[in-house]
């Protein structure tokens, strides 16, 4: 006779097996994620409530006083925030616009472009520390600085590129844009290649000028990639560290001090300010979360997915 209960037990058993297998398969990834992401994150929150140093992080409990101090007492944090915001905004605008322009230019089928594509991509393959060193040399105010040598050769005065507050940050920006543009152009370029050519032919028949085709067809078709660039470049720029550490180390003065160099300084160089640095880290995290949420809320509706 047909047994309902037995049937249900069989189904449940099968479902449980399914469930167990699925979780077993993602377990390794989850372990790593917990170990290297969740645990340090909790630790960061915990640290941010104390005063201490690396050797003795929990010297005294401060509650939210660290966060209050960041914005009221600490002389460097708010400027570092501003510098980071400036850096991020300029890098974002430059990288997105230039990588789209480069991609449009490079995606035309010319002989030169095969070379240009690899040339523009190659900086991405070099460690950013090495890039930073090379550019420090080019920007150098010493006799061997490349840019000043060129300026002098054509009869212009030297510029103290990295040694004056008015230009230092922009020099770092130039180097980071140069390093990353190839990678982002590549992403845009592959998206461009995926746009069917008939659409442009239809637009030609619809008497659309090239500029109108770019803004009405190309850009909207690239919106998923542009959105991806927006998120990755924003979060990446907020966390800029190595190039600044090598090229200016936050100077001159504190004109290139950004959030991460600030955190580094307060966590490992200054005494008894590990808690304060952790609080800075928490603020950085919150800003990134906020920006990402705003991006998704505000812009994702405009993104066209196939």
């Amino acid at each position: 006779m047909y047994n309902k209960n037995a049937e249900r037990r069989r189904v449940l058993k099968r479902e449980w097996k399914n469930w167990a297998l699925s979780y077993a398969m993602i377990l390794p990834a989850m372990v790593f994620f917990g170990l290297f992401c969740i645990y340090p994150l909790c630790n960061l929150f915990h640290l941010s409530l104390f005063r201490g140093n690396v050797r003795n992080p929990y010297k005294s409990f401060r509650g939210i006083q660290n966060f209050v101090d960041l914005f009221t007492k600490n002389p460097d944090f708010v400027p570092a925030l501003k510098h980071t915001a400036y850096y991020t905004a300029v890098v974002l605008v430059l990288l997105i616009s230039l990588s789209v322009l480069c991609a449009v230019w490079l995606s035309k089928d010319r002989k030169l472009n095969h070379f240009a594509q690899s040339a523009i991509f190659s900086p991405h393959l070099v460690a950013s520390i090495s890039c930073a060193f090379v550019w420090s040399w080019m920007f150098s105010s010493e006799i061997y600085g490349l840019f000043n040598t060129i300026l002098n050769a054509i009869g212009l005065k030297s510029v103290r590129w990295l040694d004056q507050p008015s230009t230092a940050m922009n020099c770092v920006i130039v180097m980071n844009v140069w390093k990353n543009i190839g990678y982002y152009s590549l992403i845009i370029m592959s998206a461009l290649k995926a746009i069917p050519t008939e659409i442009y032919e239809a637009a030609d028949l619809d008497s659309a000028s090239p500029i109108r085709q770019f803004f009405q067809i190309t850009l909207p078709m690239l919106s998923p990639q542009l959105f991806f660039l927006l998120i990755t470049i924003t979060t990446g720029s907020f966390m800029v560290f190595d190039s600044i550490r090598v090229m200016t180390n936050g100077g001159p003065g504190n004109s290139t001090q950004v959030l991460c160099t600030w955190i580094y300084e307060y966590a490992f160089l200054n005494n008894n300010s590990l808690g304060l640095a952790s609080a800075g880290g928490v603020v950085l995290l919150l800003i990134l979360v906020l920006i990402t949420i705003l991006d998704f809320r505000g812009l994702e509706r405009k993104v066209h997915y196939q």
């Binding site: 069917p196 008939e198 659409i199 032919e201 239809a202 637009a203 030609d204 028949l205 619809d206 008497s207 659309a208 000028s209 109108r212 009405q216 067809i217 909207p220 078709m221 919106s223 066209h304 196939q306």
Partner: protein, 354 residues
């Protein structure tokens, strides 16, 4: 007006010559269908009219004006692409409106035209939807509406129905014929489907390997084909073509055959055969008939009176026989004279075995 003339047109892709020395006149106001097997250069020809794939040499004229190198947007043409080429990021309305906006047509005029066109193709309720939320048939209508709203002198259509299911295809065929009747503009329609060509065209242009084999009305093409390629391309099942003598061949259409038990009086070509395969299609029945020498021919009959294995006699009259030379070119009575033509008929008749 919308007359298109190709004069000594050539087109190469690299070293690959796709179209050579082509002359063609597409008369104003006709529904002209370019038909031929895949890869024969139909799309290439259409793109020359549109201006999106210019000729390598030669001239394309529209109403007597040389448009060979004119920008696509400045020609008075609209095109429906095979895969529709709808702008995916725009709504239906924006898709249809795009060409009008680029030509700076005032908003009231745009709105009025869009409303009219969308009412006629049945898109009105979808105007604010994105194309990816619509079905294949509806996208097809967007492409059509986008072309119609421009009110061009010439409509170009590249296999516009090939992505639709069979039922919708038949329906759209009728709608397009109707549309042409209404607009009375020139339609240039590309297809590889001879049924579509026959059913829609005022004028059929049959192409093969970049050459034009014949241009004419569907009746001319069907009843008076220039060569075996056309004879076998138009009509389904294809015309039976059999060897006549050492040089020539002859043919007859499956539907021109009388299948009987006994020889029919007055028939020229009468052969005994056995029904090998019978396909009952409802309104008609297809037979494969095998002769004693192993040759098989297809026959189409309106009545369904025979079964596989039946012994029958196949009868073809004088007027149903076509003769072709060794290159497959048609041998016409007018060209060779009555005497020689009678000899050909005689030879065909001599092959009868009843």
């Amino acid at each position: 007006m919308g007359e298109i003339v190709f004069h000594q047109v050539e087109k190469s892709f690299g070293s690959n010559k796709v179209i050579e020395n082509l002359d063609l006149t597409i008369r104003d106001g006709t529904f002209t269908v370019l038909v031929g097997a895949s890869g024969c250069g139909k799309t290439t020809l259409l793109r020359m009219i549109a201006g999106i794939g210019p000729a390598t040499s030669g001239q394309v004229l529209m109403d007597g004006k040389d448009i060979t190198d004119l920008e696509p947007g400045k020609r008075d043409v609209a095109m429906v692409f095979q895969n529709y080429a709808i702008y995916p990021t725009m709504t239906v309305r924006e898709n249809i409106e795009f060409g009008l906006k680029n030509k700076h047509i005032p908003k009231e005029v745009r709105d009025k035209r869009i409303q009219e066109v969308c009412a006629s193709v049945g898109l009105t309720e979808y105007l604010d939807r994105k194309p990816n939320t619509l079905s294949g048939g509806q996208r097809q209508r967007i492409a059509l509406a986008r072309a119609m709203v421009k009110e061009p002198k010439v409509f170009l259509m590249d296999e516009p129905l090939s992505n639709l299911d069979a039922k919708l295809r038949v329906q759209m065929r009728v709608e397009l014929i109707h549309l042409h009747k209404q607009l009375k503009t020139t339609f240039v329609y590309v297809t590889h489907d001879q049924v579509e060509a026959m059913s829609m065209a005022d004028d059929i242009v049959i192409m093969d390997k970049g050459k034009i084999l014949q241009q004419g009305t569907p009746e001319q093409i069907y009843h008076d084909p220039n060569n075996t390629y056309i004879a076998q391309f138009i009509g389904s099942p294809a015309m039976n073509v059999l060897p006549l003598d050492a040089e020539n061949r002859f043919g007859f259409r499956p539907e021109a055959v009388q299948l009987t038990r006994e020889k029919v009086d007055g028939a020229r070509y009468c052969r005994k055969g056995v029904i090998q395969v019978r396909e009952m299609l409802g309104s008609e029945t297809l037979y494969q008939v095998a002769f004693a020498d192993g040759q098989t021919v297809s026959v189409k009959m309106l009545n369904d009176q025979y079964r596989s294995g039946d012994h029958v006699v196949l009868n073809v009259g004088d007027n149903q026989l076509y003769f072709f030379d060794r290159d497959g070119q048609r041998i016409r009575r007018a060209a060779v004279g009555d005497a020689q033509y009678a000899a050909l008929l005689q030879t065909a008749g001599g092959m009868s075995d009843v």
